[in-house]
């Protein structure tokens, strides 16, 4: 026992060194990716960053505050549309709005990406706050279905507000602002923010609310305020993630932001472990790559013995089964509510080496 504690104190600076090396290695990887990867691979690489942001934003609610929200796609849509409308040039808007002209006050607005991204997040946060304030009085499954409802309402509003959003036609030709640098910087900042948040008293209050609402209230935590704060911050992040996604795909329309999108993010959060930042990050990367890698399942296959004529839907079958198997057999997900640490990694290997020995 004593030896183990001693070992841990020695391990601390070494672990910090490992972390610095890992971050440096990743930055190097990002540079290499940006230079040498082909367009498709680079796109998947950057998509990972966006899904990290989105997964963390949902995990803040589902994992850390214990609020089951299913309306994430709606907040992403708000962010994507706000940022798109703020950054598109008047000429581009004219090309898009050929059925119904755009409202004049939006026509001439064109601002740089960074402020647009922040405004997108803020507008999403505002919408989140306005929705959260009444809805967060509900619990569990009622909250889930109400947020799902709001997500749909946002989508229907966007579809019908033609002079502002161009309705069902969507917007095409968004400026390609989601560069490798932009998306990974945002992802890095969000990871850092979440890590700091969870160490702060706000983060502890959120976890307290998740674990036992009544006990938290008895300890003097303003449960409702914690919930609304968490919901608002999560909406902000979802808005930013949605904006990044829009500027990566460069085309947005209301059909993109259905419950399906929320499902994908929920899948990432559940697989990674609700309540684990590193779990969400790892899972976001794995799921994003799998989503693209398994695309071949939907296409025609030639398996020598038999040929299939493309099976659209097979990919989603795989993912739905994955989600169900995970929730039935390993509810805590990959990481549970633990965080990644170098000690954990070492323990993993050491334990494997010692298998069969005593478990003391």
């Amino acid at each position: 026992m004593n030896a183990a504690t001693q070992e841990k104190t020695i391990a601390l600076p070494r672990n910090r060194l490992y972390s610095v090396i890992a971050v440096a290695a990743f930055i190097l990887l990002a540079f290499i990716a940006d230079r040498f990867f082909d367009a498709f691979t680079l796109r998947v690489f950057n998509l990972c960053a966006i899904y990290i942001v989105l997964a963390l934003s949902l995990n803040l609610l589902n994992g850390f505050t214990g609020l089951f929200s299913l309306g994430h796609a709606g907040f992403m849509a708000v962010g994507a549309y706000v940022s798109a409308l703020l950054t598109m040039s008047p000429q581009l808007k004219d090309m898009n709005y050929f059925l119904v002209p755009i409202v004049p006050w939006l026509h001439h607005v064109t601002i740089p990406f960074l402020p647009a991204l922040i405004i997108a997040g803020l507008v999403s946060a505002l919408v989140g706050f306005l929705i959260g304030a009444p809805v967060l009085r509900l619990r569990d499954d009622y909250l889930a279905i109400a947020t799902l409802g709001f997500g749909e309402i946002i989508r229907v509003l966007i579809t019908n507000a033609q002079p502002i959003t161009n309705g069902a036609q969507g917007l095409k030709g968004l400026p390609r602002f989601s560069t490798t640098f932009a998306v990974w910087t945002v992802a890095g900042l969000v990871i850092l923010f979440m890590a700091l948040l969870m160490r702060s008293s706000y983060g502890r209050a959120m976890k307290a609310v998740r674990d036992d609402e009544l006990a938290a209230e008895a300890m003097g935590i303003n449960v409702f305020r914690v919930k609304v704060t968490s919901f608002t911050v999560s909406s902000f992040l979802a808005g930013v993630g949605g904006a990044l996604l829009g500027h990566m795909i460069t085309t947005i329309d209301p059909k993109m932001f259905t419950f399906m999108l929320t499902f994908n993010i929920l899948l990432i959060v559940v697989l990674g472990g609700t309540g684990s930042i590193s779990g969400s990050v790892i899972s976001a990367v794995v799921v994003t790559i799998l989503m693209e890698a398994l695309r071949f399942l939907d296409e025609p296959m030639n398996l020598i013995i038999f040929k299939t004529q493309g099976m659209p839907g097979l990919r989603m079958v795989v993912f739905s089964i994955l989600l169900m198997v995970m929730i039935i057999y390993r509810q805590r997900g990959l990481m549970g509510n633990k965080e990644f640490s170098w000690d954990m990694l070492r323990d993993l290997f050491v334990k494997k080496g010692r298998k069969g020995g005593d478990h003391a």
Binding site: D141, Y142, G149, E152, F263, G313, M324, I327, Q331
Partner: protein, 297 residues
């Protein structure tokens, strides 16, 4: 608006309301017993419609035989679904079982795309049902008139089962307190299976009638009706069968009337149900006929 047009809208509203009521009952019964929102219920509805469709087109069964086969098949499918996706999680947090339900829903939809194909299919509506009836200046399809009749007949049977039979008594016991029911020697698993069977049976019937009234099938056809019927169940007071029926009719009638009288708002048709849901949840979370439940500490 002429009187005959109004009458036509009323018939349409009643038949849509009946369909909503049939599906909403499945939600409310499952919720009453397991406290689970069975997200896959809308997809069970879709499955029922497809099975009947293939019964008619591939096996060339007469429509009523296809209907019976599909109902039986779907009922057993619902029982199987519960065994695979929900039973292992019965003692887990409610959120886990709900995630499993969402997974099951997506699984059924993507299996639908995989097996049935993503392209919409036209349904061959039997002549008996698609015949246009004329009552003076009012004309309507037979099926619109038959749907409410069938619905009320099924409802009668269901209420008889729940209130008069021993199985129904066991169902009510399980929904009041699952542990106490088990202590009273109620076979909880059997009752849960039975509930899923009945719910899926009604959903299948609703799905088939839906496909005769709006003769087009696609694998995602269950999503919107599914959500709306869940909303109907909440509005009526989830857990109560009468509430689900009331909510279903209310939603169907309001929806048709809104599109009829305020056509400019028809783009918001789908959002409307959700707005209604949120208003009900905030004003009277237990729904119109629901009982207030004290929070256990």
């Amino acid at each position: 608006m002429t009187l005959s047009l109004l009458f036509q809208h009323i018939v349409n509203a009643l038949s849509l309301g009946s369909l909503y009521a049939l599906i909403a009952i499945g939600y409310t019964m499952v919720y009453g017993i397991l406290r689970l929102i069975n997200f896959a219920h809308g997809d069970v509805f879709m499955l029922g419609a497809y099975v009947a469709f293939y019964g008619i087109t591939l096996v060339s069964l007469p429509w009523w035989a296809a209907l019976l086969v599909s109902i039986v098949f779907t009922a057993f499918f619902g029982i199987g679904l519960e065994k695979v996706a929900y039973k292992p999680l019965r003692d887990s947090p409610r959120i886990s079982i709900m995630i499993s339900a969402i997974g099951a829903s997506f699984l059924l939809e993507s299996l639908g795309v995989l097996i049935f194909g993503g392209r919409p299919k036209g349904v061959p509506v039997p002549d008996v049902l698609s015949k246009v009836l004329h009552f003076g200046s009012v004309s309507m399809i037979t099926v619109s008139l038959l749907i409410p009749l069938f619905t009320f007949a099924l409802l009668g049977v269901l209420l008889w089962i729940v209130n008069k039979t021993k199985t129904g008594m066991a169902m009510r016991a399980v929904s009041t307190d699952i542990e106490a029911a088990r202590l009273m020697a109620v076979d909880v698993n059997r009752i849960v299976s039975f509930t899923f069977g009945i719910g899926s049976l009604l959903a299948a019937f609703g799905g088939i009638m839906w496909s005769f009234k709006y003769p087009q099938l696609n694998p995602l056809m269950g999503v919107m009706p599914g959500l709306k019927c869940f909303i109907a169940a909440v509005i009526g007071g989830i857990g109560s069968i009468g509430g689900a029926v009331l909510g279903g009719f209310l939603l169907g009638i309001i929806e048709i009337m809104m599109v009829a009288f305020l056509p400019t708002l028809s783009g918001y048709r789908d959002a409307f149900a959700f707005i209604l849901l949120i208003v009900v949840l905030l004003v009277k979370p237990t729904g119109l006929l629901g009982k207030r439940q004290a929070e256990k500490v």
